[in-house]
Amino acid sequence: MAASKIQALWNHPAGPKTIHFWAPTFKWGISIANVADFSKPPEKISYPQQVAVTCTGLIWSRYSTVITPKNWNLFSVNVVMAGTGIYQLARKTRHDHFSEVQVPGKE
C-alpha cells in the first residue's frame, strides 16, 4: 500500500523523473549557497549578484502564483531566495556605509 503511494509520487508528471521537479530543486541550491555565504566577510559580497538574486526571487514569487497550476514549491524557493538576497545586501550596505570601523588607506 505504501509502495503504491511512493510509486504514484515517483511517476507523477511533475515528479523526480521530470525537469519540473529538478528545476526548483536546483534553485534551492542558490539559497543554500547564499546562506553558506552569510559567514563570509561583507567585502566578498557582490552587489550586482545579490540584486539579481533578490529581484529574480521577488518577480518569480509573484508569477509562481499566477501560472496554472500554482507552483508552491517554486513560490517558496523564490521567497527564500529573495530573503537571502535582501539579507546579504543589508550586510554589505551596513558594512560599507554604516560601519564605525576605520578602513586603512580609505579617505
Partner: protein, 97 residues
C-alpha cells in the same frame, strides 16, 4: 510591416504582457551581474554560489526546452548564464592555488 511584427510580439503568448517573458528577463539579471563581476578580482568570487548557478542554469535549460510552451528566451538566458558562470568558476578554481 515592422509595426505588425512588434504588435504580434507585444500581444503574443510569450510577450511582455505575460509571465513567460518577465521570468526569463529576471534570470537575465544573473548574466548581467556575472559580467559586471568578471572585472573584479577572483578572490571576491563565491565558489558556493557559482557552483549552484552552474547546476541551476543547466537544469533550467532543460526545463525551458521541455515546458509548454517551449520557452526559447528562458533557454537563451540560461545558456548565457551557464557560459559566464563556468568562466567565473574557472577563475575561482585558478585562484584557489
Amino acid at each position: 510591416m515592422a509595426m505588425a511584427v512588434l504588435r504580434a510580439f507585444w500581444n503574443g503568448p510569450v510577450g511582455p504582457k505575460t509571465t513567460h517573458f518577465w521570468g526569463p528577463v529576471a534570470n537575465g539579471g544573473f548574466v548581467v551581474a556575472a559580467m559586471a563581476d568578471m572585472k573584479k578580482p577572483a578572490e571576491t568570487i563565491s565558489g558556493n554560489m557559482t557552483t549552484a548557478m552552474c547546476l541551476y542554469s543547466g537544469a533550467l535549460m532543460r526545463f525551458a526546452w521541455m515546458v509548454q510552451p517551449r520557452n526559447y528566451l528562458l533557454l537563451a538566458c540560461h545558456a548565457s548564464n551557464e557560459v559566464v558562470q563556468l568562466y567565473q568558476l574557472s577563475r575561482w578554481v585558478n585562484a584557489q592555488g
